[in-house]
């Protein structure tokens, strides 16, 4: 602030009330400053050295509570009153006399609005928009043209959606081919080649069934999310008149659930509403109605057993909304990009049925909006039943993107970056380790890169780079823990103390020491990565160093696995169970000894409710395959829908062989029943009953009940009733319950109900001995 403007405040008669406060010059000048201390304002107010008590009181009366630095700011409503009284000319007059702080964006924007030179909203940065938001209130009805608060807020929300993408792509360069592939898939801009252009013409009119969703895969740090972020930002730049709608879901964020995909739809509508203000009324209308209906149903049915929504209940919404908004949907003239980032997190978190529900949902929506373009971003290629993906695999960085990546990691000199790329290639881990080394060893000359890498055995490049980086960790204890400690996946002070301390040579580590090492490890970004539930050692680094550590006499890798098994096996949460199994397998335990049956992979999938990849399922032994399929059908019965039933049936048909007395028989027959393939169901039941050991009451009851149910679904009540009568075991629930024999209770209860229901169907009185009072109805 400069002391150019002189005004003799001492001669001003200060008003006692607020009614005329806005004519006071102290307040008028204060209104132009975003924040000020009393001395700062005194410094720019000419004619006096110090404000009188009354003047200070006046400022205090019309200001918000001062912040910790004793800075005041005039309240919005009072500031507006001051400006309204001044009018446009009055404000311009003041602007000519005072000098505003050029580093204060709000002041600068205020001046720009008053002088009519403010940039349009589309050209404002986020800080400028935030300033405009305040100014729109201050200058309301003052004669100055300002955007409405709602317009500014809308624009702020738009930029906030893009902010994470902008942060990701700060140093983005290269990846031209991958961007072109992504662009061809989305079918939005002119194709990258003539052939693709011809193919693209067909693709524009097809949906999910003909055009599989895209799966971008690559190792951690390869820039998968960044590629998509760059693509989205590019679309906005190139098509400012016609924007590409996009929806972004990041499964790395806790709380994003797919159990009810309609909730994802609500989120998507919110995002689209921000991107397309002109249509926001429709988006918000659908969103609000959907939200209300889902909430109403949820609150009415707190007992709901199948929490995952089914295709059929979603269909009701589709029909309703496509009818109401038929006109709007018909004019969707562009693709809608839907990104599912960190898909591996969802695979870890959600069960098969939830993921299937998500795929079904996307398929259903693509029927309504054929140009829906789902893009999944994950670490590994996956297949889910009939769902196939169009893959884009990001291997290493190309030279341009590698140099940009190194720049982001602190290697600013492009020549140095080029030398690094030449020596270690585009592998992100190599680049990270080299960047770390360059910083730690203060390397500035590309020739030094040559020197360092020349001595290194190329097959052990990553190990050697890590070792060399470790030499620079200041805290020796931390370095001792880091390698071989990287053998464990999760890391926290408890694990350092209980699992790693002894094998790393610490005989009496206490909690404090473990806590300190953990804090130090946390600082080593080349070793650690953040996960949704804390931090862990980098997976790529573990993979790179595993053989070195486990085979080296220097490290006690085996002991670490032993400790980890001991540590995790005492815990009961699913994650700890998974860690126990992981360390058991890694130390080479026989799968049988860790409660495995024939195939460890399928066992894990089944135990943890994870969908196994098709190739693993196909390779599985017959017994494990049957156990896996049995678990899958149970899951579908609980959470699936007609489509998943049909898909499972097709999958089962591909492998016809069954072990004698297979447990899969019952589930398979049930699946056929639910699909109304009654003949098939009966065939399976007959075969299963023949194979079932006579003493296996449970299995026999289940199968008999299923046979009865098949007759009932065919409305052949006589046959159903005969089947019950021929199996007295189905009628005896009450006896079992009374005798406290509660084994097989579920089947017995069902048997009792089936018997009573069918007796009724046949118009019979229920026996007096079995809870009676019944008479023939009608």
């Amino acid at each position: 602030m400069q002391k150019e403007f002189k005004f003799n405040f001492s001669k001003v008669e200060l008003p006692d009330t607020g009614s005329v406060f806005n004519t006071n010059p102290v307040l008028q000048q204060a209104a132009f400053y975003t924040r000020f201390t009393i001395p700062e304002l005194e410094a720019v107010a000419g004619g006096i050295d110090k404000f009188s008590e009354k003047e200070v009181e006046l400022i205090r009366n019309f200001s918000n509570k001062p912040n910790s630095r004793e800075q005041y700011s005039i309240r919005d409503a009072d500031r507006n009153q001051v400006f309204r009284n001044l009018g446009l000319e009055g404000m311009k007059n003041w602007l000519g006399k005072i000098e505003l702080n050029p580093t204060d964006i709000t002041q600068t924007m205020l001046a720009a609005y008053i002088s009519g030179k403010a940039p349009v909203l589309d050209n404002q940065s986020l800080p400028e928009l935030i300033a405009t938001h305040s100014i729109s209130n201050w200058l309301k009805e003052t004669g100055v043209t300002v955007p409405s608060e709602a317009e500014v807020l809308q624009k702020i929300r738009q930029l906030e959606i893009l902010k994470p993408f902008q942060l990701l792509t700060t140093n983005f360069k290269g990846r031209v081919n991958d961007l072109a592939n992504l662009s061809d898939y989305v079918d939005w801009r002119p194709k990258s080649t003539v052939t693709k252009s011809i193919k693209g013409w067909f693709r524009e009119i097809v949906n999910w069934h003909d055009k599989p969703p895209l799966m971008i895969t690559g190792i951690g740090g390869a820039g998968k999310s960044t590629l998509v972020a760059k693509f989205i930002l590019d679309q906005l730049e190139h098509n400012s008149q016609k924007k590409l709608p996009f929806v972004y879901f990041d499964f790395d964020k806790p709380g994003l659930s797919v159990s009810n995909p309609l909730e994802l739809a609500i989120d998507a509508l919110q995002q689209l509403s921000v991107q397309f203000p002109a249509s926001s009324r429709i988006f918000n209308e659908i969103r609000d109605q959907l939200q209300k209906e889902i909430l109403e149903l949820e609150s009415a049915n707190q007992f709901s057993y199948a929490t995952i929504s089914r295709g059929s209940d979603r269909q009701v919404y589709y029909e309703k909304y496509t009818e109401i908004y038929a006109e709007q949907i018909s004019v969707v003239d562009r693709p809608v990009l839907v990104i599912f980032d960190s898909f591996e997190e969802l695979q870890y978190r959600a069960n098969t049925s939830e993921i299937n529900a998500l795929f079904s949902f996307i398929r259903e929506i693509s029927e309504i909006i054929p140009r829906l373009r789902p893009v999944f971003i994950g670490r590994a290629e996956v297949t889910y039943g009939n769902t196939r993906f169009e893959p884009i695999k990001l291997d290493g960085f190309d030279p341009v993107s590698a140099i940009a990546f190194l720049e982001a990691k602190g290697v600013a000199n492009p020549q140095l970056g080029e030398a690094i790329f030449k020596k270690v290639g585009g592998n992100p881990l190599n680049l990270i380790l080299m960047a770390e080394l360059v910083k730690r060893e203060k390397i500035i000359d590309p020739a030094q890169v040559e020197e360092i890498t020349e001595k290194m055995d190329k097959t052990l490049l990553q190990e050697l780079l890590v070792k060399r980086n470790l030499e620079h960790i200041h805290d020796a204890d931390t370095a001792r823990i880091a390698v071989p400690g990287i053998l464990v996946r999760r890391i926290n002070p408890d694990i350092i103390m209980e699992v790693l301390a002894k094998p790393c040579g610490f005989n009496n580590m206490n909690e404090q020491q473990a806590g300190q090492i953990f804090t130090e490890l946390n600082k080593e970004s080349f070793l650690i990565q953040a996960t949704s539930d804390g931090i862990s050692f980098r997976q790529d680094l573990r993979l790179a160093l595993y053989e070195l550590i486990i085979n080296s006499k220097e490290y006690k890798g085996r002991e670490i696995h032993d400790n980890a098994v001991r540590y995790y096996s005492q815990k009961t949460d699913p994650q700890s169970k998974a860690e126990t199994l992981y360390h058991c397998l890694m130390r080479g335990d026989n799968p049988e000894s860790v409660d495995y049956s024939d195939n460890a992979y399928l066992y894990l999938s089944r135990k943890m409710g994870i969908r196994a990849s098709d190739s693993k399922v196909i390779q599985a032994s017959q017994l494990e395959w049957e156990n896996y399929q049995q678990a899958e059908i149970i899951s579908i019965m609980n959470y699936g829908d007609e489509t998943t039933l049909k898909e499972k049936r097709a999958e089962l048909a591909e492998r016809k062989e069954r072990t004698p007395n297979s447990n899969l028989n019952y589930q398979e027959a049930k699946l056929e029943t639910r699909l109304a393939n009654f003949q098939n169901a009966n065939k399976i039941i007959d075969k299963a009953l023949k194979e079932a050991p006579s003493q296996d009451n449970q299995k026999i009851i289940d199968l008999l009940l299923l046979r009865v149910s098949v007759f009932e679904y065919q409305m052949n009540f006589k046959a159903a009733f005969d089947a019950v009568n021929n199996a007295p075991i189905l009628q005896t629930a009450y006896d079992y319950i009374q005798s406290n024999d509660s084994s097989h209770l579920y089947a017995i209860v069902e048997g009792r109900l089936t018997w009573a229901r069918l007796a009724r169907r046949m118009g019979l009185l229920l026996s007096k001995s079995r809870f009676t009072r019944h008479s023939k109805r009608r």
Binding site: E296, Y305, S312, D313, E642, T673, R674, L675, K776
Partner: protein
């Protein structure tokens, strides 16, 4: 088995029926009470068939069935039966209706 959650041992659609009738924790309700209640609601074949015809008259698709349940009982299909084709789900729904339509608790809900 008195006390809680008897309905967890019941198959669809009876578990939904029991929970709506008695709440999640069926305090003081025994299997005897439950069976008596349910036995009373079962229809004979003729009545069941007429209920089936009545229900199917306006139901041509799974969505129609979902809408019927939602409008009349504030329920989704997944609340009363396992997944299946329309032909099978229709029977599941009629089984639920034969129980529910005899109870004022469900009629009250329908009128809401």
């Amino acid at each position: 088995m008195k006390g809680q959650g008897l309905s967890s041992l019941l198959p669809f659609p009876y578990k939904t029926y029991a929970e709506r009738l008695y709440g999640r924790f069926q305090d003081g309700i025994s299997f005897r009470d439950l069976f008596v209640e349910m036995d009373r609601s079962f229809s004979d074949a003729e009545l069941f068939m007429s209920l089936y015809k009545e229900t199917t008259s306006g139901v041509k698709t799974k969505s129609d069935l979902e809408r019927l349940l939602r409008d009349r009982y504030n329920l989704n299909l997944k609340d009363i039966c396992e997944p299946g084709v329309l032909e099978v789900n229709l029977i599941d729904v009629v089984r639920f209706i034969e129980m529910a339509d005899n109870r004022s608790e469900f009629r009250d809900r329908k009128s809401k």
